[in-house]
Amino acid sequence: MPVQNTIALKPVNDFLLFVQRHTGESITSCYQCGKCSAGCPTAYAMDITPRQIMRGIQLGLKDEVLDSSAIWLCVSCQICTLRCPREIDIAKVIESLRQLSHAEGRTHAQRDMAVLYDTFLQQVHLFGRLHEVGLGMMYNMRSMHVFNNVMRLPSLFSRGKLKLRPEIEGASEVKQIAARVKELERKPS
């Protein structure tokens, strides 16, 4: 919630209110110092910086924020969270934006990142554990980068790094958990 005894923006727009409620973080406390962007390892590749994401939320620029590549290029390293002088968990904020972007199907700016995560979870839903070979194959097909990493296979294979058979312990548990999660998320909170 907004820090008292300080000059903070009034939470005036729906997007800001939504993000604050969803994360429990005080977005209005951000005074745009830019430490988050300075420390961010992937900021150089983003269309807008973490500081601009925070400003975007304050100003209610929902489309600019949710359609950005930046929220999908955040790797959750949490340097921003560690160094924020206003103690905002910025990584958590960006993570929740990613979830929202995913839920609203607005992942086009970094479609392959979303495809990777979806494929990963699909593997986990199937087997209970991640099958790395299956992830690689399915990712290549779904992202249509069919030959991605194919040249690496011989050196990985010769070192016995590739397990062809998935481990399936816990598969039924994960299916049940995933089904219950879906059910719970359908209920309005």
Binding site: P41, D112, S143, N148, K161, R180, V181
Partner: protein, 296 residues
Amino acid sequence: MVESDHSSKVGARTYSYYPGCSLHGTAAEYDISTQLVCQKLGIELRELEEWVCCGASAAHSTDHLLSLALPAHTLKQAEEKGLPLAVPCAMCFSRLRTTIHEIKNKDTLNLVNSAIGKELGEPVAVESMLQMLADESISLPVTKPLNGLKVACYYGCLLARPPEVVGIDDAENPQTMERLLVRLGAEAIDWGLKTTCCGAGVAFPRLDIVLKLSHRLLSLAQKSGADCVAVACPMCHANLDMYQKDMIAKFGQKTKLPVIYFTQLMGLALGFSPKELLLDKHLTDPLPMLREKELA
């Protein structure tokens, strides 16, 4: 190697063991070296039977509740065993600790309980393998000190952040791994990128990012005089070890730098052979350097 007879006596250093998916796949070296080292040090690891994936970045990037429910399932299994949980993988460790942190909130706990269909009680202690093995009350029967080996200790992100969740000595300049390796006879070099991200899990879609970030780390470690980089995370290991050929092609990096799990270095000092420790499985071969140092 993992003790599965649960009727056997529980020693002071008996842990449930959660290897995670990577250690059963591309990071088998980390799994095997961890088990050998623990055995040598009298630490018993009992692998949870039906553990499931922690969900990693895929879950917490797309589905908040799922990202808590998957680790919670494992926490419940560990709770039923009543033993502290030892976790080598930095990602799994982070997800488990984050879940414990988040279910302190009653509403979150209720939701997570509904998702896993069980009631979570008091969670067991979850420890990273690094923190566990760096405990200075454990005596280290060193038979082959790592004399003359200069190591750049690399923590990456998730063993260092957020400090209140992971419980590290210093989030910007941790010394846990350094102290451990110095006890084994190695020299820990001082360098500035030990908690800077290597590019994490984006290699499939954005190899360019991994190459840039990992190359920066390796170059600085090399310039700082390191013979190798020590890691405690399978993702960091993959990024730093697997793509050095690509880095040479892209950035003209001069020489390769071996990237070794800290448990493999421990294993060497405790008398295991490079082959037992699967040191021949890395893509950047550490054996020539280790032979030069008379450690292999």
